[in-house]
Assembly symmetry: C2
Homo-oligomer: 342 residues x 2
DNA sequence: TTGGCCTGCTGACTCGATTCAGCAACGCAC
DNA sequence: GTGCGTTGCTGAATCGAGTCAGCAGGCCAA
């Protein structure tokens, strides 16, 4: 590129190659065969592009084609969520793969901000919008969104029938059952399955019960508490005040499991010999505990990726709800081999 | 807006108001006084905008003005970092405040991807680029970036002299000193201050030593280990095998502190009565420990906000490096009142 | 009457691409 | 030599705004 000169335009390329703008445009858009451009012209244009360091102006192209090659992601709190922010990683990677960029905006749950953000993204001309939530739950998307293509991420909107990508909580519950069943003794769920702000709990519990039943086992008790460290700690401490802990604990998330570890700490019971612990999330926290926690992971990066893929896939219009498998992250909190069940 | 009609353009507004496109444009851009447009014309145009539901086409405007009202954020791993992802929250909030959108891209540290991403963002016509890193460290920004306005976030590039926004690690170290000095006995630093991938450690240590010196105290020992839970746990367990723990621990981050808690667990020493623990990060983890951890926080959201503000502030060209204060997050791991120093 | 100034507006060009419709030049069949 | 088809290209319109230069028309002073 010539020093000091302004950025070259398509017209400059065309002039240098001795062809019209039209011809140059066809060549750069891969339509040279269709338009029967001679090989010589193609070569001259390509050379000119290199010589001038030409890069097409995306804005001008967008004006003409009404496509901006950007996708928006509107969320309540995803970037703030410690672990859920990987949805952004996945989404942005998938966008880049499709030569798009990801535009992000957070609403903090404020419906007004949500509406504003949606409108501004539409003004900006995004090619589609991913509507994401920190917790897996049901939502009602703002009507203004519906002018664009929308894919839901980590949430569903039953009324709208919009395509959605969510973790397979039910399958995750089944996986947890298999892990919990490795230990003998009662299976105890820790954490209120109706935790507000999500319905992951009910689905996990349903899967857990289904699979335990198949194994000839059952959920023997549920210790209801918020999904936080201190709530789980005190709930369990209180619950065990009767007899000593035994069997296996299925914790609704890794923080609850951490609370369980703390509650076990004072007692004379070791993990996993006396008590097995399984949980959900697959966050880094699981690897910080001793012994490391066996946890059924939320595939956040994959969720983000799948959502953007679905959004940009022209064939995926009414593709319903995709449930992505929750992979087990193996730790040391369950016995490595299943005990033989009587 | 009329049903089924295509989106109204400025020309439609002008026609309905009985003025020229030029006049309508001046009015909508707040230049009606300067251009001496009559109050009646202004009113008619505003009414037409409402009637038609007119929203300006940002792409067309961008083409003309060469401003896209978007800013890019290129990072190595910020969205994946559990806690650092709040930089995105702050950055996106600041962008929105200035009527801009945030475009994100992650490189995973790959210089090739970095270059590509930078070029694509420039093609996209971003009004500026924030270059961010997960860890606070020195970087060399890719030369292709320098075509745009750039602000560094959580890193510095001494050679380029680019404006940067970073946490005030030195000041944070001083704050930690005040907290550690509340307990009598030796002050022990936990975590290698030369942790690879960041130079936060050396700055924290320098601030710590400076302030301790002012208080007539000193760093009595440094237990060098990686900034991870298991490394800190085993390093401390080993270190204490001589005598019992006492004094105060200054942990290089919250995970190290968690390791310290675990190491203390078997021993007969309580926090903060026997050992005070201070750390750096201010992550949620601090609130999950028992007792809750007193930690000098990284103001990630503020950092992100300040970076975008600086980027968009026309007066802030060579504004040097902004060091944002690290706020103390008070927990229960240090004595509440300072002991009288002899 | 003429010239100059103010008020209130507009015509036409511009940003940088995409794309439809059409046009010369040539060969070939009749 | 006329008509037709193919090859290889191009002119000009278009997307939807922003903006410079200028133009009527009225008023006032000389």
């Amino acid at each position: 590129m010539v020093r000091g000169a302004r950025k070259p335009r398509l017209a400059d390329v065309a002039a240098r190659a001795g062809v019209s703008r039209t011809t140059a445009s066809y060549i750069l858009n891969g339509r040279s065969d269709e338009m029967r451009i001679s090989a010589e012209a193609v070569a001259r244009v390509r050379a000119a592009v290199v010589d001038l360091g030409y890069r097409p102006n995306r804005t001008a192209r967008s004006l003409r084609t009404a496509q901006t090659r950007t996708v928006g992601l509107i969320s309540d709190n995803v970037a703030s969520g410690h672990f859920a922010s990987r949805m952004l990683t996945g989404a942005s990677a998938a966008a880049r793969e499709a030569d798009h960029f990801l535009l992000i905006g957070e609403t903090d749950g404020d419906p007004l901000v949500e509406r504003l953000l949606a409108e501004q993204m539409l003004d900006q001309g995004v090619d589609g919008i991913v509507y994401a939530t920190l917790r897996h739950r049901e939502v009602v998307v703002p009507p203004s969104l519906l002018q664009a293509r929308v894919v839901l991420l980590n949430c569903v909107d039953p009324a709208s029938g919009l395509p959605a990508v969510v973790p397979d909580e039910h399958g995750g519950g089944r996986a947890a059952a298999d892990l919990a069943a490795r230990a003998a003794g009662p299976v105890v769920v820790v954490g209120d399955e109706r935790e507000q702000g999500t319905h992951a709990g009910t689905m996990r519990l349903a899967g857990l019960e289904e699979r335990l039943d198949e194994l000839g086992r059952a959920v023997d008790d549920v210790v209801r508490c918020d999904w936080t460290v201190p709530a789980a700690r005190s709930a369990l401490a209180c619950w065990w005040s009767g007899g000593g802990p035994a069997g296996s604990l299925v914790c609704m998330n890794d923080r609850v499991a951490m609370g369980a570890y703390q509650a076990l700490d004072g007692l004379d019971a070791s993990i996993p010999a006396d008590v097995a612990v399984v949980s959900f999330d697959g966050s880094e926290l699981a690897s910080w505990l001793t012994p490391t926690l066996t946890t059924v992971g939320l595939p956040f990066a994959d969720l983000g990726e799948a959502a953007v893929r679905t959004l940009l896939d022209p064939d995926a219009r009414g593709s319903g709800t995709q449930r992505l498998a929750m992979p087990v992250v193996h730790g040391g909190s369950v016995p490595t081999v299943a005990r033989v069940t009587p």
